[in-house]
Each structure stands twice: as C-alpha cells, then as structure tokens.
C-alpha cells in the first residue's frame, strides 16, 4: 500500500516539477531573451563593438590536422590557424612571401632555398625555425593524407641549413612548386613533439595526430580554443601573432557546422548567427535578402561544377553520345537556376593561370544532339541503355541541375534515371567502373590556382575511381601530357602545354560538361561586421576570403 502512494507522489511531483518548469520558462524567457541580448549581443542595444563572430560552414571536419584535411571545410579553418611559406596574391593568385622572405632555385628547379622570417612565433610563443618547416614536410608526407599527394612524388628531402634557411631538394622538376606551397602548412614541431604519443611513425610516435584532434599548433592569427567533433570550432585570437591584426577583428570566432536551410534561415534572421558560409539554395538566399540588413556576394571557387560522363560504360562510352549529351545541356538555364554563374568554354575556370580561351564547348542545340545520337553506335537501341544521373544529397541546388539535364536528355530520346546519393555512397560508387553512374554531378576544385592542379586532380588517372573523376578517362596520352606540363618549369612553355591539354579534352575526349564556375554565395548581417569580400575585394582563393583577421566588427 505504502509503495503505491510513494509511487503516486513521485509521479505527481515529477508532473508538478515539469509543469512548473515549463511555466517558469514561458514567464522567464521574456526577460531572458532580453538579458541574453544584453550580455551576448550588446551590438543591437548599445552599439558597442561585439568581439565574437558567429559563422557557419557546411560541416565541421573530424580533425583540424593540416596533414589530413584537404576539403573546403578544412581549408576554411586552416587559413586562420596555420601559415605557409608563401601567400597567394588576392587578385592574381601569384605566390608572395609570407613565412619565407625570399627564395632562390638552381639546378633546373630541383633545389630550392628559402630564407625564413626570424620573428615568427607560434600561438604558444615558440619561435618558428627551419626545423619546423622540415618537420611539417616530413610529417605531411609520412601521414600520406590530405594535400600530401602534391608533394610526395616531388619533394625528395628537406635540409635545415640554419634557423632561417631551409633547402628543398626535389625528385623531379615541378613547374607549379612555389604556387603549390600554399598547401604546405607549417606546424609547431616543439609542441607536437612534446605531445607525441606512441604510434605508427617510428621515433615520431603518432606525429602528434592525437593532440591535433582537438588542438592547433600553428602560427596563424587564431588558434583553436574548443573543438567539438562534427559540431563546432571556437577560434581565439593569437596574442603571440607576429604580424598585425586589425583592432576591430573578432577576438573569437564560433564556427558551427550548419547546412539545414530552415535552421540557417531562422538563426540568421534571429541574430544568432552573423554569417552563413554560402551553400544555401537560391530561394533561401532570396527570402533572407528581404531583410535590408543582410547582404550577399559571390565568391568564385577554385574549380567548377561538372557533369562527368563515364567513358567506360554504355552508352556514354561512345564519343558521339557524350557529344550529344553536351549539346543537349542548356548551360545558360543551369546558370540561371543558381542566379547567374560564370560559364567557361574550357574545363578550367577562365580566372585560372593557364586557362585557355582558345576552345569552344558544345552549344545548346537539341538538333545537334539528335544528329550526334544518330551517328553513334547506340542510334537504334538507345532506349535499352538508360542513363543514370547521380548527384550528391544536400549539395545545394545541384539536384535541380541533374533534374534539368535529365529532362533535356529525355527530350532528345534518352531514358533517364536520376538518383540522389548520400555522400559516402557517392564516393563508394565512384570506386569501380561498374558502380560508377553514367553521369554524375559534382564540384571539383584545384589545390592551388593554376590550370595544372585542376587538370591533375580532375582528369589524370590519379583520381580515377574517386568522386573527382567519374569519367574513368584512363588515357595514357592525357596522363603523359599532364605530367609533362607539370614538370615544365618555364612559365610560357607550361602555359602552352596547358592550352594543348584543354583543347585535347574538349575536342577529342569530351568526358565532361563544364556546367559553370563554382561559386559560394555567403550571406551576412551587415550590422554586425564588414569584410573584404563584402566590400568588393574578393580573394581569388575561396578560403582566404574567410580569413577572420581581416574582418571588422561593428
């Protein structure tokens, strides 16, 4: 009997507690929201400068280790916490001195000597020396992930001459060597060695990878103060920064992984986020821009959106079919879906060093498409070969592009199947010819702003079997051309070779539709901060636009 009463009372108390709580909440929130605004966001009330910037990316990577990440979301964080020997010029992308003050090469570009700044300190106060550079290179190559692919076949060894002089010995000549150094991030070897655990790398233990899971070890204007895997990253201003940071730059930056359109919209509208990174669908953008405090801009990516046609699978293994699909694709309409994007005839964005304007791609024409189909070996039985168009789930408006291409292909006689594929499955499918769809839509980006980088990661055999290359080109001639161009140190000769490759791709191989030059359209609250990209000076490399030390809080 007693037990029952105890049980009942507990129940009742729990109930009252809950009702009480929710009652309190509704009453309290009125004050609370005001209080919250007063403490967290004084900007609207008192016009004092707020020093925390709250921004978003499409996702937060699982680690901010410069030897591991190579995606957009990694780079956006890297540029703020790590620095490189050279810095890409904002308008031309040419390498300029950063951690290195000068460099010389001899021996046909096989030996590069760098003189380093002597006043650089890492965020923990340790001065940077040539040893850190050597450690960073060794570490990147040993771990073998991220951007190591650029350097692993190029750099033979790094020699430390003295604290401020370091020599890179190359295995082979590599034309874009200096440009590519923007992906070689210098880490604090003292700090990582102090936090080294047992691991796979011999005397280097785990190379500090465990430590870097939630810390940073760089010399950039910010360092990671809190890292929540797949959720959020907090950056704090580096008080030991060797360079100048403007006074109005945010003292801390909260970066949240956020893609969901509805939540993004609500958060920006209610002032809980100041900047949306820029992969919103166009309608989200439109509806947010009805608020006069919000503004948007367009930041070009270092790559393009491509429809990649599988050259090893029927029916797209036929050159005429690939040409037909290229003719059937209305790129202007696709650009319109995105609210106007830059089109490019070459598979390389025209802003790139090495892009040629000497090629023309296939203009939209249903008739020409039908003519090409008639010329192909599938002219009579095209219906037996359904064309699968796959796109990545949650990748902005790319679904609309796939849908549009699908309806255009149906109009000229193809049987089309569209599939929206989760990212991991998309990568898995790309692994073999059989599972690779006939056509995929994805964005591919260069590592450094030069045609060679994009040609290599998009069209050389190196990336066949990855989402970067659904085409399975596997063309020895093309591979040789790309390798040859990259090995050419002379700039003019390299330019000519790049142009040659682009021509070959556009006329002889036709593996790809160059939909348009990729761009992100960030949207931000102009009453909270201003930033260079918002004032019209957009950096050629997307990630450098999100260099928070250049932001000015209002």
């Amino acid at each position: 009997m007693k037990k029952k009463w105890i049980f009942l009372t507990v129940c009742l108390m729990a109930l009252m507690g809950l009702v009480g709580c929710s009652g309190n909440k509704t009453q309290e929130t009125g004050e609370k929201t005001q209080a919250a605004v007063a403490t967290e966001a004084p900007v609207s009330a008192e016009k004092t400068v707020r020093d925390t910037l709250r921004t978003t990316q499409t996702a937060i990577p699982d680690t901010c280790d410069p030897a591991k990440g190579s995606g957009e979301n990694d780079d956006l964080i890297f540029v703020n916490i790590y620095e490189t020997l050279v810095y890409p010029n904002a308008t031309t992308g040419d390498a300029e001195p950063l951690l290195a003050t000068s460099w010389t090469s001899d021996n046909d570009g096989l030996k590069w000597t760098f003189t380093l700044r002597d006043d650089v300190k890492f965020s923990d106060g340790t001065p940077m020396t040539a040893n850190d550079v050597k450690y960073s290179v060794d570490r990147l190559i040993a771990i073998g992930e991220g951007f190591s692919y650029i350097f692993k076949d190029v750099i033979a060894s790094v020699d430390v001459v003295d604290d401020t002089t370091v020599v890179f010995n190359l295995k082979k000549s590599f034309g874009p060597f200096i440009s590519s150094l923007i992906k070689l991030r210098i880490v604090n070897s003292t700090l990582l060695k102090a936090n080294q655990l047992d691991g796979n790398y011999g005397e280097n233990g785990d190379y500090g990878t465990t430590y870097l899971l939630n810390h940073s070890a760089g010399s950039g204007p910010y360092y990671i103060s809190t890292f929540n895997v797949n959720d959020s990253v907090y950056l704090t201003e580096n008080s030991n920064y060797w360079g100048a940071i403007n006074d109005k730059a945010p003292k801390s930056v909260e970066i949240t992984g956020l893609l969901d359109a509805a939540t993004s919209k609500m958060l920006l509208n209610s002032g809980e986020v100041d900047l949306l990174h820029g992969r919103q669908v166009s309608t989200t953008l439109k509806s947010l821009l009805t608020n006069p405090e919000f503004a948007t801009t367009s930041i070009a990516e270092t790559g393009m959106n491509y429809f990649m046609m599988n050259t090893k699978k029927a029916p797209t293994d036929d050159l005429h079919i690939r040409k037909a699909i290229s003719y059937a694709c209305d790129r202007n309409a696709m650009s319109a879906i995105y609210g106007g994007m830059e089109l490019s005839d070459s598979p390389i964005p025209s802003s790139f060093w090495g892009a040629t304007d000497d090629v023309t791609t296939y203009p939209y024409s249903e008739e020409d498409a039908k003519k090409e189909i008639a010329l192909s070996s599938y002219a009579n039985n095209l219906a037996d070969y359904p064309v699968e168009i796959a796109y990545i789930q949650g990748n902005g408006d790319t679904g609309k592009l796939a849908m549009l291409l699908g309806s255009e292909l149906e109009a000229v006689g193809f049987t089309v199947k569209i599939s929206e594929v989760p990212w991991v499955l998309f990568c898995d499918n790309a692994a073999t010819v059989e599972t690779s769809p006939s056509i995929t839509n994805a964005n591919s980006n260069a590592s450094y702003p030069e045609a060679g980088s994009l040609l290599e990661v998009k069209f050389s055999s190196m990336t066949a079997g990855t989402f970067n290359q659904n085409e399975w080109i596997l063309d020895d001639k093309l591979d040789a051309m790309i390798a040859d161009s990259l090995a050419t140190v002379d700039n003019d000769a390299r330019l000519a070779k790049y142009a040659e490759i682009q021509k070959y791709l556009t006329t002889d191989v036709v593996p790809t539709i160059n939909t348009f030059v990729g761009a992100v359209k960030p949207i931000w609250n102009t009453s909270v901060f201003s930033w260079p990209a918002g004032e019209g000076s957009v950096h050629v490399l997307e990630e450098y636009n999100y260099y928070y030390a250049d932001f000015m809080m209002k």
């Binding site: 969901d260 849908m403 309806s407």
Partner: protein, 301 residues
C-alpha cells in the same frame, strides 16, 4: 463437450451460414461508430487512389523529370490544388503518386514480416519449452533490440539505397513483433479447453495449429496489420525524410516534407500538404484498425 467439439471439427461446412450471421453482427457493431466508417472510407480511398494514381493525377508527368521553373512556387489554386514546388511541379499530383511507394513499402513489409513472423511464432509456440523455442525467442529479441529505423538504414547503406531495400530494411525490424504476438496467442490458446480436448482426442499437433490455431489468431493478426500499415507509412516517411528509400524525381511523402522545410515559412504548402497527407492516411488506417479491434475483441469475449 469433447464429443460436441469433435463434431464441430468435421462439420465446418455447416458453419458457413453462422459465419455470415456473425459477419453481419460484426458489421452492425462496426458501423455504429462513425469513426470506424470514416476510417474505412479513408482506407478505401487511399487504396483506390494508389491503384489508379497515374490516371487520377491531374499532372502525372510531374512525378517524373518534369521541370517547369516558370511555374514554380505557385500557391494552391484551382489549377494546382496543392500548389507547385520548386520545380513547378503540381504538388497534388505528386502527393497522389507519392502514395504508391508508401503503400508499396507497407505491403511489402507486411507480406515479409507476417510470413516470417507468424511462421516462427507458430513453430516456437508448437515447440514451447524446447530448445527451438528458446532459439527463436532469442533471435526475436536480438532483432527487437535494434531500432527499426537504424536497422533499415543499415540495410539501405549496405546494399542499395532504393525503395526495395528500404522495405526489406523495415521488414527485418518488423517481423519479430509478429512472432511475439503469434507466440503469445498460440501459447495462450493451447491452454484453452478446446485445444486441450483436441489434443487429447489424438489429433496431430500440426493439424491443430493449421486448422484451429491459425484461424483463431487471424483476426488479431489482421487487426495488427491494419494498425501497422499506418506505422510503417510513418517509418517509411521518416526514412525518406533522411533520403533513404525512394529516389527523386519519384515523389515520396517524407522526402517531400523534408525538401519543403527549406522553404518555410513563405512556401508553407510544400511542407504542410504532404505532411497533411501522411496524417490523414495514417489516421485512416488507425481508425479502421481500432474499429476492428473493438469489434473483434468483443467477439472474443
């Protein structure tokens, strides 16, 4: 009593009239509650619409690769009863055609899980107390312990993300419930007098199961199936909400809601209409299922 029962066993045919009588009685009971009738009508309409979706839809081409950007985001009008979506496709047609995969998944899941579930339940009940019983109940427990959505997701990512594997995935998680309900019914029935008598009379156990137990549990199973149809449609819509199952451009109710959320609150009909459709359909099946439960459980007493 034993003799009377044995007589009944032999003269099933003479029961035909009394069965019609019973049906009439049940129908009367059923039809007295207007909720039951509403449920029945909704279910009938849903089934009808599912079968003739392509003919009934005002714009059947909108279920496929039809893009009409000029007509995008039109409010519900006389031309487009439920408005149009971001591609300018008629939402009403898409909802109607979107019923198909939902119903298809429900039917597949039920077919698979009822077959496996009832069979295993009968076997376990038949061999009650033996190792087979133990094994089957452990396996049942094993599958019950993983949430159905998670299990379905595993299947979809492991094999192929389409509507067939979505159904398989849900079925894998669903059958244990049928095993459990059959097992409970069989074990409770085997204590009933008439079964005990039949057993005493030397009738083979297999025959008892098939001729006596199976008909006796059908009504419970059928009721559960009706109620489950609603739940499966909900689960399937949750799966398509996260992009598993039916692939675009084929419409499915869950993915329509999840895609529509991006356009809230301005283009509310993109979310509200398909969500409303889910609510109405599931409600229809629940009303009908509850009505059946009422009528049949009273009959049991």
């Amino acid at each position: 009593m034993l003799a009377a029962y044995l007589q009944k066993l032999d003269s099933d045919k003479t029961n035909k009239n009394s069965r019609i009588e019973q049906f009439k009685r049940n129908w009367y009971k059923f039809s007295r509650n207007p909720m039951n009738i509403i449920g029945l009508i909704i279910v009938a309409v849903v089934i009808f619409v599912t079968i003739f979706a392509k003919t009934l839809a005002p714009h059947p081409e909108d279920a496929g690769l039809h893009v009409d950007i000029m007509n995008a985001f039109s409010k519900p009008t006389l031309k487009n009863w439920a408005g149009t979506d971001e591609y300018g496709r008629d939402l009403f047609s898409r909802i109607i055609i979107g019923l198909r995969p939902s119903m298809g998944i429900a039917i597949m899941v039920l077919a698979i899980s009822v077959t496996i579930g009832v069979l295993l339940g009968l076997v376990a009940g038949y061999y009650k107390g033996t190792l087979i019983d133990l094994l089957i109940s452990r396996i049942t427990e094993l599958f019950m312990s993983i949430p159905p959505l998670i299990l379905a997701m595993v299947v979809c990512t492991m094999f192929s993300n389409n509507y067939f594997f979505a159904a398989i995935g849900i079925a894998v998680a669903w059958w244990p419930w049928y095993t459990r309900i059959t097992y409970n019914l069989v074990t409770s029935l085997s204590n009933e007098l008439f079964i005990v008598y039949t057993e005493l009379a030397g009738v083979k156990m297999m025959k008892i199961i098939i001729r006596e137990m199976l008909p006796n549990i059908t009504s419970s199973i059928l009721t559960k199936m009706t109620l489950d149809t609603g739940s499966i449609i909900l689960v399937a819509s949750s799966m398509s909400y996260v992009g598993l199952g039916v692939q675009p451009p084929t419409p499915s109710l869950g993915s329509m809601v999840s895609e529509g959320i991006a356009y809230l609150p301005e283009f509310w009909w993109l979310t509200v209409m398909p969500a409303l459709a889910v609510v109405v359909i599931v409600m229809g099946f629940n009303l009908l299922g509850d009505g059946l439960t009422d009528v049949l459980s009273v009959e049991d007493k």
